[in-house]
Amino acid sequence: MTAIGWIQILLFCAVIVALVKPLGGYMTRVFNGERTFLSPILRPVEAGIYWIGGVDEKREQHWLTYTVAMLLFHVGGFLILYAVLRLQAVLPFNPAGQSAVAEDLSFNTAISFITNTNWQNYGGESTMSYLVQMLGLTHQNFLSAATGIALAMALIRGFSRSSMRTVGNFWVDVTRCTLYVLLPICVVYTLFLVWQGIPQTLGAYVDATTLEGAKQTIAVGPVASQVAIKMLGTNGGGFFNVNAAHPFENPTALSNFVQMLSIFLLGAALTNVFGRMVGNQRQGWAILAVMGVLFIAGVAVTYWAEANGTSALSALGLTGGNMEGKEVRFGIVASSLFAVVTTAASCGAVNAMHDSFTALGGMIPLINMQLGEIIVGGVGAGLYGMLLFVVLAIFVAGLMVGRTPEYVGKKIEAREVKMAMLAILVLPLMYLGWTAVAVVLPSAVASMANAGPHGFTEVLYAFTSATGNNGSAFGGLTGNTFFYNLTLAASMFVGRFFMIVPAMAMAGSLAGKKSIPPSAGTLPTTGGLFVGLVVGVILIIGGLTFFPALALGPIVEHLAGNANNLF
């Protein structure tokens, strides 16, 4: 670890914190339906969409209607994406002549992108046409992100309203999020990325003759427009197989820094939106503090582990950290930071191969996902995931002092706690359950690229990533098999919707409650005590759930490596 490395990490944190308040203010205005500086251009488009769609923007929805609208939207998105994947061979914008994507891979990919996971059982440049990348994947990157943010808004309204039956209008939230938040940022961001060197062309792959006279086919495409939203929307699905490690997806140290910022940007700003809407911005800062504590701890461990390298490399006299699977322009610190950022948020883009990280360095991304991606988290999903843990922490605190717990003026009662527990328990059931199934099936074991405990970690990582809707991978695992295509799709589906529906049910029940003013017996939820309490609950619940699995994977691998055992 070096001083300049830590300065880069602290600079990253400082820029995020500086952006939270202004962006939070803007997003609050957007979702409250107020005028913004973009309204003169975008308002006519917005009104036109409502007119054609037959939506009365003043009419709000009950939580059930809101949820049904969201589910219908997903069904439609799935059908469009599946159709485009199956038909790509006969559709335009296919200069590389990619053939139709197989049924099981199309199914997996469609589920993957509508759930904001972007798990990829394929290499982009060798499988997908430009049309699929744009109309299929870029479009779902926008809409799954907008859906996540819309749901977070509904839950926030649940906390901020008093005795109301409605939580907002799904169509209005999705449209406004796409038009006023995602698109304007992406337009500017795309141009920045092209300036840095990311291609944006519909031209065919380029054939070059190298200096030594060999033929090199260079894959290009409409890359920048997809990279912008894949980062901003915490989708993470790469245009190319190796994602943001590819020089065309992440060409410079500056593009890398800005990409990391854009992963956290909206998720961090949503904590401020929450604070503003419940009437006290310090409530938002307290939540961001919980995230910050867990984040810095994760960065420290991964950076330390990667900078130390492995015993096997040291034994060969090599120094300078573990560079296997990392790019020279990023080095140890920017690769370690990126890995923690992308798994803390549910992005899943990678700028280095997590499969080649040291045992402990690769364990932190795994833990980040197993905690439910609540450290900033996916856009929207991170906030509602974190609020589930907050509800639980408040409940535990209430039990300790024997009072009915309350949070930002709402009594937390049996229904809320049941919904929180349902969402929190169903995730480990998926990733631990499927991992257990996979390791006893010889055909599933055959997909592992590495032997020994590392192979087990590859499988555990895959199901964790899918369930958490992250999408990063220990990429050695051959996931494009019938078994993994279906089971990973099932994990992504359950991981998304068994989180969303309980969260929406909670939103509906909270919105209907009266808001009560704080009294002398109310636990203040803006101070260090509260932050410590929530961090503690997260670590205890998380630790009890997945520590045994970690012991079989990265922990035993770390010990074996130190004893110079190779597999």
Binding site: Q8, L11, I52, G53, G54, V68, A69, V75, H139, T175, T178, L182, L191, V194, P199, Q200, T201, Y205, V206, A208, T210, L211, E212, Q216, I218, P222, A224, I229, N241, H246, P247, F248, P251, T252, A253, N256, T310, A312, L316, L318, G320, G321, M323, E324, G325, E327, V328, R329, F330, G331, A334, V350, M353, D355, S356, N450, A451, P453, H454, F567
Partner: protein, 200 residues
Amino acid sequence: MLKEIRPAILILVLLTLITGLAYPLAMTAIAGAVFPKQAEGSLIERDSKVIGSALIGQEFKDDKYFHGRPSATSAPDPADATKTVPAPYNAANSSGSNLGPTSKALNDRVKEDVDKLKAENASAPVPIDLVTTSGSGLDPDISPEGALFQVPRVAKARHLPEERVRQLVADNTAGRLGGLLGEPRVNVLELNLALDAAAK
């Protein structure tokens, strides 16, 4: 609930057209006009033939060129399409090795490369980037140490004074952005182009 079906279809279609077609196509047009070179992939031409991209590494085996990092990319086996064969710096199929820290295969490969490099230049420690594969398999860069390590070999093959080659490495070394972001690096293709130009 039934009245949600109309917006579910129409709003989905409208937003799909905006984000899936209008946005990427408009960005392609604008980017092509404002940054035409980057939008096409930062291609480098010599004698009006494309010889590669400034951002994509290529394979160098000749002693008179600086070598990039080992690459783990592959290509379909011409004899059997279900298998793959190693094809370093295949820019149509990016890939890392995905070998883990306790992998015997990784350890054997690194050891072999270390031994080769030690035989080439015993006077300096082997830089780690020269014996590890990059994440993309297309890393265009090596570390300044990785370039300096190769100076004696390149100078000998080209019958140039080592001082001259070392100077070229220094000229082609990029530092951290603002002294802060990223890592110092040398673009191998650009360095080799400079070498060829110096030889003329």
